[in-house]
């Protein structure tokens, strides 16, 4: 198979795995906590907590992470499953975390909103919009001070560009000339509110530019485009060029959280968007690259099988002991709880 086809198939495989992961998690969360004006139900769900799905945004996580090494660092948002998986985390431990089990990436202490795998440089999802940005520049600052070759990828949503830390973090990265790639995952909505009318000026990349962070805009549903642009920008960052900004435009297929029907959104808009499903686009490209349909279906099948296994393992996994609630907090003053 041609090299570009091989790479694309690899990108597609990761996207398929994320999609399968999100779909499975979505089902497992039905009956879980509903922040959506519905009162919290008591119907037991396998995944109890708020679940922010990245369904439809897979190409951004995959295209960027394909250009990161395992030792590079990454900060994420509340919508972090895709970033975590694409950075190389183990799906069994990820799913176990969503299920709140002791075998989860975070020992069941964080759940979806705080999913992290430090062993692959994934420094965590975050429950606070834009909060990952200062952490990302700080990590990049440490890498520079320690003269390390790694870089940091900082993911955030379009809604985050209106929070102060966006400005402070970008300015910081420029002032100290840090190795960080800012990735604005622009799905054009913030929870239930379209971001456009809440954002002054010409948007994220223009703001970045005004602070001295050069960058580019890309179709976030075209994994090849994201991959190519990320490759270019990350090369510049690795080359000591300082921070760069990637503005990837995409679409959120699901509600803000898994139990959100997103009734506030025009269904025609959703239907239209589904035509630009990043997996569809990648499949088309694979076919154009001469990859056989069976090969593609085989990938889908493997992904489904892998995630089904993760679900089974997660459901069978042990719960954390209550005593675990008192560990991993602080050494100084530990044990002195009341």
């Amino acid at each position: 198979m041609h090299e570009s086809a091989t790479r694309l198939l690899a990108l597609y495989r990761t996207m398929a795995r994320i999609r399968a992961f999100e779909n499975a998690a979505e089902i497992a969360s039905q009956g879980g906590v509903a922040a959506w004006g519905l009162s919290t139900t008591t119907k037991p769900a396998l995944v109890r907590g708020p679940l922010h799905l990245s369904t439809g945004q897979e190409a951004v996580a995959v295209g960027v992470c394909a250009n990161l090494t395992r030792d590079d660092l990454l900060t994420s948002t509340h919508r972090g499953h895709g970033h975590t998986l694409a950075k190389g985390a183990n799906v069994n431990r990820m799913m176990a975390e969503l299920f709140g089990r002791a075998t989860g990436t975070n020992k069941g202490k964080g759940g979806s909103m705080h999913i992290a795998d430090f062993s692959v440089g994934m420094l965590g999802a975050n429950g606070v919009v834009a909060a990952g940005m200062p952490i990302a520049v700080g990590a990049a600052h440490a890498l520079k001070i320690r003269k390390r070759p790694e870089i940091v990828a900082c993911f955030f949503g379009d809604g985050a560009v209106n929070r102060g830390p966006f400005l402070e973090a970008l300015n910081w990265a420029v002032v100290y000339h840090l190795p960080v790639l800012f990735v604005c995952e622009d799905n054009r909505i913030s929870a239930t509110t379209p971001t456009g009318p809440m954002t002054g000026g010409a948007g994220a990349s223009v703001r970045a530019d005004s602070m001295g962070v050069p960058g580019a805009k890309v179709d976030g549903n075209d994994v090849e485009a994201v991959d190519a642009m990320a490759a270019r920008l990350i090369a510049e960052v690795r080359g000591g060029g300082g921070p760069r900004f990637l503005h990837a435009v995409t679409y959120r297929f699901k509600g803000h959280v898994s139990v959100d029907p997103a009734a506030y959104r025009d269904q025609a808009e959703v239907v239209a968007a589904l035509a630009f499903d990043p997996l569809l686009i990648a499949r088309g490209a694979l076919v154009r690259h001469g990859v056989a349909l069976q090969a593609i279906e085989a990938v889908d099948h493997e992904a489904k099988t892998e995630i089904d296994a993760a679900m089974t393992q997660a459901e069978a996994a042990p719960w954390p002991e209550p005593a675990a609630a008192y560990t991993d907090i602080q050494n100084t003053g530990a044990g002195q709880w009341r």
Partner: protein
């Protein structure tokens, strides 16, 4: 009299205030969709997007702008979604809103109600589960309210909107669905507690979601022959010293119960003040000093249970 849930009661109080006073406005994220707990449902349709304002994700400026609005003739209601996000607006609340009137020598006032829901909320983990009422009770210039029932959420929000001082208004995220009767037009005075049960053996002071738990515990204690005087503080600043101290003096034993972390919680203030004033025996029950865990067995460690309350009362009375 109307049957409403805790969320609807707040919406009704706000709707009536906005009808009565054109200077009352509300601002926050996603209010146009009714707010994430339906506590603003229908208000934007009723009053328009100029008065029920959808904002960018800019907590610091939501709070700071509200201070400016208040100084320029409006009575803003700020929605912070959860108290955890209000941490992005602490300078604006504590340095700007709370100190404005004093700092400028009484030239202006800041009539502002800041709603910041508190508490555990099924598996919402460490950054969406905090109860930080103790922080605000410590800050001069702030009023702190934490209603536990629909009628109180209606009557206290209405009073908060009329107070003219910055009010930190803390609803509980697991109480939205609780139903109860509300008397339209009723008011609950800020600073007045609510006695939920009469008893002479022990005084139990509590607020917010711990209230129903304390009532349940009191019922259990009663079957064991222990009669508890259960007081819902409702307003943490100013708190109802009169009712609490009189009860503590009478029973000689005070237990303060809250969902917030016990260490440095506001229960310490109530307990210490009561012991200072009446010499009563005291005990506190709150969450251990741990972040809230996501998984149920971990999260449950942060929950105050009726059993724990019964246990605390028993120990308190033994001494």
């Amino acid at each position: 009299m109307a049957l409403m849930n805790y969320s609807q009661a707040a919406a009704a109080a706000l709707s009536e205030a906005m009808t009565a006073d054109a200077t009352v406005v509300a601002l926050g994220e996603d209010l146009g969709r009714g707010g994430i707990f339906a506590q603003y449902r229908g208000l934007q349709q009723q009053f328009g997007a100029d008065r029920v304002i959808d904002t960018p994700i800019s907590e610091a400026t939501i709070m700071g702008a509200a201070v400016g609005m208040a100084l320029a003739g409006l009575r803003p209601v700020v929605e912070m979604r959860v108290v955890d996000f209000a941490l992005c607006a602490m300078d604006e609340l504590v340095n700007q809103a709370a100190k404005n009137r004093f700092m400028f020598g009484g030239q202006g006032r800041v009539p502002l109600v800041v709603r910041m829901p508190i508490g555990l909320w099924t598996a919402s983990a460490a950054q969406h589960s905090q109860s930080l009422e103790a922080w605000f009770a410590h800050i001069p210039g702030l009023v702190v309210v934490a209603p536990a029932a629909p009628d109180d959420n209606y009557g206290l929000l209405a009073s908060a909107l009329e107070s003219g001082d910055p009010v930190v208004y803390m609803e509980h995220k697991e109480l939205w669905g609780v139903e109860g009767d509300v008397v339209p037009g009723s008011r609950v005075a800020l600073g007045v507690a609510r006695r939920l049960r009469d008893g002479g053996d022990v005084t139990i002071v509590t607020w917010s979601k711990a209230v129903p738990t304390c009532v349940a515990a009191a019922t259990a204690l009663s079957t064991a022959g222990i009669e508890a005087d259960v007081i819902d503080l409702r307003t943490l600043w100013p708190w109802d010293r009169e009712m609490v101290l009189a009860s503590a003096a009478r029973t000689g034993h005070l237990l303060v119960v809250h969902e917030a972390v016990q260490v440095g919680g506001f229960g310490a203030e109530i307990a210490a003040a009561a012991a200072e004033a009446t010499g009563c025996r005291i005990r506190r029950l709150g969450a251990p000093r741990i972040p809230s865990g996501y998984s149920k067995p971990l999260e449950d460690e942060s929950r105050v249970t009726a059993d724990a309350i019964v246990g605390a009362v028993t120990t308190l009375l033994q001494r």
